[in-house]
């Protein structure tokens, strides 16, 4: 049964900041119906607009960047010069109008421009505000600037990726920002639940660093209790053998794992090497680990003769966990993702049709949606300031003439 509305219809959110960590929270909530206004300025647009490709026709331009639009679909885009007194007035009107403010500037900046939580709640008493930054709002390194790609190294992810005797490896882009934005969305929604129940607003201080550590909570507890330092081990797993990636025909790869003797026997049968499953030396996890070269040779020979997706289907049919290593291009044709409508194409005035990522979960009654492409800079000034804030045409024109929207 479809309820006929989205889960967060009526919820009003204003974002100050840019790049991934703040705006991705807004996108997640916008995809379930929240009205989200992304605030930039003409002189300081969102850093994702000009600093990160890809651009339409490979030509950098303020409105041709697909990285910015990808994280800002389903939102309204406005420009406000918060250094201008008229601009600050406009910003305050927006923060009085909304339920939630999301900001990801360096600690103290939002206070300095007069939009800190204590100030805003004077005229919006049940406001929920999320401040998300590298280190959190407090602590000896609170003022550290930083991007998520580097914070992913400080939080342990890069050091845990790669071969034991090789260098750490990058995870693509600001990996940890999306951990923090996902957890940030959970925090905002929990605050909303409390507000529904108690009428009380909230100030949420999210450290992207700390959020990332929740994704490594087990290895960290292990260190605290036993002193064992987790290390990168390529694709090994202590509880499975075989466990890894194997090259297939062309440039394809499969990833597979066996977690029991039964699974190993099914794998051996599927690759035509049933005799391996009958070998008592391979009957235990320890035995298979110590014979990893022999097993990997057999698997590699079988995989190299097959196309990756076909190989994965064969092993799945035999009841063995396996999947092709999807390339990023494969994500657009993977039958599972296609069936679940993972990508929604929306038309952008400069970029044209662009694929936007739909939520990772489906709600049976109030499904999510990508309602619009990412906005061009300042596209919705009139809509937001006049329709949402109910400014008269004269008020709007006067504010614009005074540089409030520069």
């Amino acid at each position: 049964m479809n309820a006929g509305f989205l889960a967060l219809d009526g919820l009003k959110i204003v974002e100050f900041g840019g790049y991934a960590a703040g705006p991705h929270v807004g996108k997640m909530l916008a995809n379930f119906g929240a009205t989200v206004v992304h605030v930039e300025s003409m002189s300081r647009p969102d850093g994702f607009r000009m600093q990160y490709p890809p651009y339409k026709d490979d030509t950098p331009g303020i409105n041709s960047g697909g990285c910015f639009t990808y994280f800002n679909d389903s939102k309204y885009g406005v420009t406000i010069d918060v250094k201008n007194p008229e601009g600050r007035k406009l910003a305050r009107q927006l923060t009085d109008w909304c339920d939630i403010v999301i900001e990801n500037m360096r600690p103290g900046v939002i206070d300095r421009i007069g939009l800190g939580f204590e100030e805003l709640r004077k005229s919006n008493s049940d406001l929920i505000m999320l401040s998300t930054c590298n280190m959190g709002q407090t602590g000896p390194r609170a003022d550290t600037p930083g991007f998520g790609s580097q914070l992913s190294a400080l939080a342990g992810f890069c050091g845990l990726t790669g071969a034991k005797d090789g260098p750490p490896m990058l995870l693509y882009g600001p990996y940890i920002d999306y951990v923090a934005s996902t957890l940030g969305a959970a925090a905002v929604l929990a605050a909303l639940e409390r507000r529904e129940r108690t009428g009380k607003g909230a100030y949420l201080d999210v450290s992207q660093y700390e959020c990332g550590l929740l994704f490594l909570a087990g290895p960290l507890l292990e260190y605290h209790t036993s002193g064992k330092i987790a290390d990168r081990v390529e694709n090994d797993d202590p509880d499975a053998a075989p466990h890894g990636a194997y090259a297939c025909q062309g440039e394809g790869w499969i990833a597979l794992s066996c977690w029991s003797e039964d699974e190993f026997a099914r794998l051996c049968g599927a690759i035509g090497r049933a005799e391996l499953a009958r070998d008592p030396a391979l009957a235990t996890l320890a035995g298979r680990k110590s014979a990893s070269v022999r097993i990997n040779d057999a698997l590699s020979a079988w995989a190299r003769a097959r196309e990756a997706h076909q190989a994965a289907r064969m092993l799945q049919a035999a009841g063995v966990p396996c999947h092709a290593v999807n390339s990023i291009a494969d994500l657009f044709s993977d039958p599972q993702l296609v069936a679940r409508r993972q990508w929604s194409r929306r038309r952008h005035p400069v970029i044209g049709d662009q694929a936007y990522c739909s939520p990772a979960f489906e709600l049976s009654e109030t499904p999510g949606d990508v309602t619009a492409s990412g906005p061009v800079l300042g596209a919705d000034n009139e809509r937001v300031f006049r329709d949402f804030l109910r400014m008269s045409k004269d008020e709007f024109d006067a504010a614009r003439a005074k540089g409030a929207m520069d």
Partner: protein
Amino acid sequence: MLQGCVVLDCSRRLGWIAGRLLADLGADVTKLEAPGSDVSSADWRALNINKKLIRADLSEPVGTRMLDDIASSADILIATPSAGTSDVRLFDYDRLRTINPRLIVVAITPFGLTGPKAQWRASDIEIMAAGGAMALAGEPEGTPLRVSAPQSYAWAGSQGAVGALTALAARWRTGRGQLVDVSAQAAVITALSHAPTFVDILGITPTRAGAYMTGRSVTGAKYRVFWPCRDGFINFILYGGAAGRRTNEQLVAWMREKGLELGPLGAMDWARFSPTRATQAEVDAMEIPIGRFIGSLTKREFLEGAHKREMLGYPVSNTADISTDPQLEARGFWQDLPGPDGRAERHCGCFVIVDGERPPLVRPSEQAEGVTRHVSEA
């Protein structure tokens, strides 16, 4: 913030963090485990802290009755139903909603409950492969890699928590629960940043970059990311923009103070430097003296020096480095609770500070106060 919200967590590894996040936010979470199942691993203890543990054999009628009994008054039920098992009937949304129409059922599975791969088996490595993450990690000509500590479970579980809370918001209007169908494969796509846009807009498929950053330059230039230092590696990148300019200026000033050879860095006008447009030859020439400088530092020296100078860049930490980071200590991130043997265990605390206070973890991972019920043994 979720005080009064009752959660029944029936998840296996794929979903553990969902209940943990809800518990940390204040929900009353009961974790159902089969009798005799292992609850001793660090992963189990870390991700099931703050929940009440109940043992119940769901293959027995008494266990099923107990499940339904708790579900009848719960707000959220989290499950990770395995295709082709009795889980499917047990956690079927249509069955559960007849017991409690207000119940939100969060089903976290590798590929989602519907679609041609709904029945496929997958653990972390296959989910990371299916979601595209392995295509982006590793040396360019080498084996695709996963992070050595499972990540897809955390991506899926945290999306499950967001899904549960989104459905909770909807319930204020509808009065009804609903099914939250989480695909771990789709959850991993969140980790790919904007990589899919290169395929979509330019027809370019991003691949493994190894220890270099690609995708920032229209000339195709690669930027070194990991620099060997005296006791490990440093993550440092030549950025542009205001923050990059300051970092680069400070780096050169730091090198100058140490009397190091600057090479082309000495004549750089950082206000005009654009990583988007720099050529590979220019980048390579700049990176030689930087490599020599970073090689002379320890991780902690870089961390403290870079902070003092407001520079971008961090050391590549391991779990020991993280556990002694003064920043985390100062914010009260770690929390000590009794472990299974009664000795204190140090856990990651709640991920958010609310109204100036970090919500405390209130329960150790296994109840030691007599409230644990062993249903199958009753």
